[in-house]
Point group: D2
Chain length 416, copies 4
């Protein structure tokens, strides 16, 4: 076995072993275990305790989980008086030891607890699932929502972009990974292994995912790409069974037609921007002929907005739909000034610009229901992505192509 | 290429690219860059800034580095008033948003800065080197020593045991890794590639290292092991060129004869205990015949202690030396009650027990100079390791074999 | 990328490139190409010629293929007069050069042609497909059947057991390999990816295949194994969706329940014996608790034999069926004295013994049609396999368990 | 572990096991073992016999080896009468079975014996070593030299270019491979691991080797390449410790400065041409800026030829040496019309042309002794390589640059 493969297989094997071990019959209350773990003087005893805690957790029902989270939220919170005392002492004399004392007091012990749980091989995935539980069970509970910030704080550090690895997903990938791509696809459902194969096997269809080395068979986020000649106008043409595979030389455009987050427990930790840029960079190195990087994206809020605005339009009024979609994307805003459409917020925030809208582009039930089948192309122009991003971040400025501006203007006339 | 190999090769390639890119001519003061990076609204612009900062740092001389560290220490520290205000607000109303505000105020912005620097592929190793600089340059400076606690806090989280991977080091390992083993060996110097080969190629000689996936060709710590029949009594016999390789069936003992930390920038982040236990577990799975796990360890403080105590003894008084070494290990203490000998503190803290001492066991210049050639075997008895650890951690109790107790007692008589 | 992975990825990439290259417009008759290739003085020009020939072949229809095979069979055959002359010369003076001349004359030039075709990366798989064509198209044609012996001679050398590698097939395997397992399964059809998963994912279900390094994604033969407690009595119980996975410690038996050859073009090159023994050896190393290695095999000829013998029996007469199956396996012979049943010939030839028969063991349409649902367990007893093999090979002696002998005897009584 | 890595690790592990097994005490004469192996009816018993034979062989002294080879040469040779009878029968009726009988009779049984020996995992390398013995011990013995043709015939089939894999050798390669590069380098000796590192680590120094999957840690042949600006004029400048590494963009030339065959037992099986062309193709894909592929080659026969011709020249007469070297390369011929210089024969046979000669280009003892320090650049111009090859193969025509022609002409004048 090679060293590099060993490196990861080791992770894998250890993970396998987790849970098979017999840890005796430590039936003390969970509070005793957390207290012990947080107090454990060395890595030595900590590891066994952490394993036991994770196993206990994995056997809990929802009520027990809530109780466990409340225990973390209340009993392992900061103690304001202690923070104040440590802060005073540090202000009085700024030394290494007063700073250490302050650091310890100002951080809730549950953060250290979570870090110690993470010592167990395979624990990272378990903790991500734990946070998914917390998000689901903690709704509306202030203390649990605050607790979630601690998880998120740690995860942002652990799932730092520098730790992630980009892997192509192809028909050479392990079935164990591929079945997760099927399960996690959130934009255009994958119906079968044959459907999957059409998206990952041909030379002009690519898929890439971010992974974390501590969760080597759990994709975090993935993107599906079509290499095309010109920007695609419909998702049907991309996914049809009967199409000609494009010769590599013919491709001048990479169309990102689906991006899916995979881990509910990593909500709020953003990978999408990095993923798109990394994939664009890798593809343009592999295919120097690629000139255009664009998306073919859903407009999930269009139909709702039309209804809210009282605008009537039928799915076959293509041109009117395009105008209205342009207007929606360019003018419909939340109270904070950001676009109403969540997908628009994502791509504009990444520095893309609204390039074009396509009618009849997604004729699936979902596509028709949410946007009367209209889709939008966001364009990632590497020369202006940074400037677009700044403009959007600082001034809510939406980068737009001239044709989109015209369409939106036309809508205004029509509606007037 | 396989998916797993790709995963790591991706890391590798990206790292290669770091530094080759042309980042224009951003000659603004470093303070402007840190301010920008900490204020950067998205991953997008942050990445370029982080890269530029790391490159600037890598070109600094010591004075500039100290200035940079001072900038972090003073300008990016907590602001006591803000911490107090946020704490008050949180105490008044414990909601998600008051807690978020508290979290933000209570953590110095330099921690977030370091996390953002770490987004750059390959940055982790650069940050580890940065901390090595800080430790060297910051001695005696309270603010810099406090700053080091932030690095250490983040590194403890990133180099969490659950993220580390154990890799065997062998004659099949890449030369790039092996040359680092030669360079980092800190106990028994490796003189040449032939010397290295004698330690990693034969069936009865093993070497294992912990790696972090973000630094795939930098070992963090490694241990060298000899599979033997009975516990080894001298390091010369282990390392000699002319010895018979033991048949696998004949081995009943694994002797850990050298443990070396590799990264100055990871000082204080402890891996050794985990490494020994993991290796012991893996070896005993591979060789069910292994019954004993012990070390052959140096006694770095013996000669100094003898001098301090005014005890005269010559290197050829074997038995007397053994008695004195036993006495030293069992009774010489620091003011905090822990053993004076650093290697003893390490192994006893791991739950090992002092098993035996060997005279004439290390006849190298270094061995003669520090301990008149005496070495010690610490025994890792998996049945008592946990109990030993607790006893040592809680009550400074040193686990000892009866024969060592007798030797120490004999020393007392001799000295009396 | 690691060296070992590179090794194979190189194979893979080169194979990918095959066929994409533009080889000009060499429209000479195929006979001119073969003449050139066989005459080519160096590797240099040979490679291009070989590639062109393979491409031309891949575009041929059946009639053209037959013409090509006839060309090889007739124009590239030995020339008896030349063989005789070379033989005479060698007999007269046994030197290196007369022997070389004899070797050249005695081997038909088409063998060298096939070897030269094989220089092209990826050619081995193409040549295996070519032989599959030859076997299909050459039936009843003496010259083409003789030509096949040349292919077979070369393939026996190239697919020598020492060159094959055993790979576990699991849910971690690439989809590209797994879909071939689905396609090639010849005993118990795999209905879907879910069905496949049940056979390769659980800890107590294993699958292994032989591969050749020059055809890294084409399995040559594979075997499916169930780890069980006791010898399985029915294939339904092995393949059911609703069963409990066996804990590893509980398994004492490995049941080989399906063996499939994958490559029509490798007919007559036997791998099965090696595969079973290698897998048995590997499994017994991994699971020291395994005591019994047995098959659960079809009896494809039973129903036909019963018909030929005029014996009437219904599928629900379990005991009578078992007796008759025993009698069939032990006494029904071909004119050459070997068992009538092809599966029996295979396992007995490998040194297995007939251990037991199970009624109602394969209730699929195919199982009912060929054997009224009866199956047989052949036992691979590592202590007697060699002796059984010798007895069978030398004297057609069938190794049998006492209970099978009794069953066969009972059948005799019943029929009498 | 990944499938691909497994594939090779399996090879590796099996090889490891070879020789450890206890094969009882089969002390029959070697002739009994070969007779048994050749007669073995199945793979089953054959494997054990083959292993025993290889082990017996590995313990033989030279006299015993010669006796073993004589046994193969004489007792396992063709039997002329049988060949004739089978040939007559085939001529009379050309059927599959007469052809099979002819094939069997016309091939000496020792070929089948060698194929059966090769069934043992790891046997290929053992057989390559066996042929190296045969070449060394069989000199001047007609029967043994004829026997060698059988080995060579089989090896040419097994080591067919289509089965070889090209691997880059770098500082990432396993030490086990790298130490063989050191040992096998035959042109410019590698003095130490540091010397090796200078040849494989910098970006502008490359090394590539052919491997066979059945001998995964034995390079068959390797080439060392320097990426340079312009064609190198001396090997000292390539190998010096103090040089600047070339930026990738600056390289326009790949200089092949050393090619070494590694396996004495593969003498006469030519890989060099394929290696150079494959490496040239791979490099030009990786570095589109590469325009020139040339060698910096020794002229091993120059000094001897000068002596034979009675030409006096001193090492410091640079220009005269260049002229004489040109003349030697272009005009000195063997009786068969091929160039006297073996390196010239190799490169010209590959289709290279004599491009330039460099005085003072190899100042090592060996370089001075064999060619007064002169070296030659052969140029691989991909446009003319095929035409050059044909001209050389068919008409002994040497492709030459105009400047070399002038130099040779100048030499003529000087000598006149």
């Amino acid at each position: 076995m090679t060293l590099l493969a060993e490196l990861l297989s080791t992770v894998f094997e250890r993970r396998q072993r987790l849970g098979r071990l017999d840890h005796g019959d430590d039936r003390r209350p969970i509070e005793a275990l957390t207290a012990d773990l947080i107090g454990a003087s060395g890595e030595a005893s900590g590891l066994g305790l952490a394993r036991r805690l994770l196993e206990r957790y994995s056997g809990m029902d929802d009520a027990q989980k809530i109780a466990f989270f409340r225990h973390l939220a209340h009993d392992m919170n900061i103690v304001a008086a202690k923070v104040r005392a440590a802060l005073d002492a540090y202000e009085a004399a700024q030394t290494k030891s007063t700073y250490r004392a302050y650091m310890q007091a100002s951080e809730p012990p549950r953060q250290e607890l979570i870090r110690r749980l993470n010592q167990v091989p395979g624990a990272t995935a378990a903790l991500v699932r734990m946070r998914a539980d917390l998000l689901a069970l903690g709704k509306g509970d202030d203390a649990l929502r605050a607790l979630d910030l601690d998880f998120r704080h740690l995860f942002a550090s652990w799932f730092n972009r520098g730790f992630l690895v980009l892997r192509p997903i192809s028909w050479e990938s392990p079935a164990r990974i591929l079945e997760k791509i099927i399960a996690y696809e959130a934009v255009h459902r994958i119906d079968s292994w044959d459907d999957l194969r059409r998206r990952v096997e041909p030379h002009d269809r690519r898929c890439f995912a971010f992974f974390h080395p501590a969760m080597p068979d759990e994709p975090l986020i993935f993107v599906e790409v079509a290499l095309t000649h010109g920007i695609s106008r419909s998702v049907q043409s991309l996914l049809t069974e009967t199409r000609d595979v494009l010769e590599e030389e013919g491709a001048d455009t990479a169309v990102f037609y689906s991006i899916s987050n995979c881990q509910a427990g990593l909500a709020g930790i953003s990978f999408g921007n990095s993923l798109i840029k990394q994939v664009a960079a890798d593809l343009s190195m592999e295919f120097p002929g690629l000139k255009t990087f664009a998306t073919l994206s859903p407009i999930p809020g269009l139909v709702d907005w039309l209804a809210a605005e009282g605008i009537l339009v039928t799915p076959d009024e293509s041109e009117k739909l395009r105008e209205l979609a342009a207007r929606y994307l360019l003018t419909a805003k939340r109270t904070d000034g950001l676009p109403l459409d969540p997908v628009a917020r994502f791509h504009l925030g990444n520095g893309a610009r609204v390039h074009d809208v396509q009618a009849g582009a997604d004729l699936s039930d979902k596509g028709l229901a949410q946007s009367h089948g209209v889709m939008v192309n966001y364009l990632y122009d590497l020369n202006s992505v940074s400037q677009n991003h700044e403009g959007f971040a600082a001034k809510r400025k939406i980068a737009v192509s001239p044709q989109m501006r015209s369409l939106a203007a036309a809508a205004e006339k029509t509606l007037a």
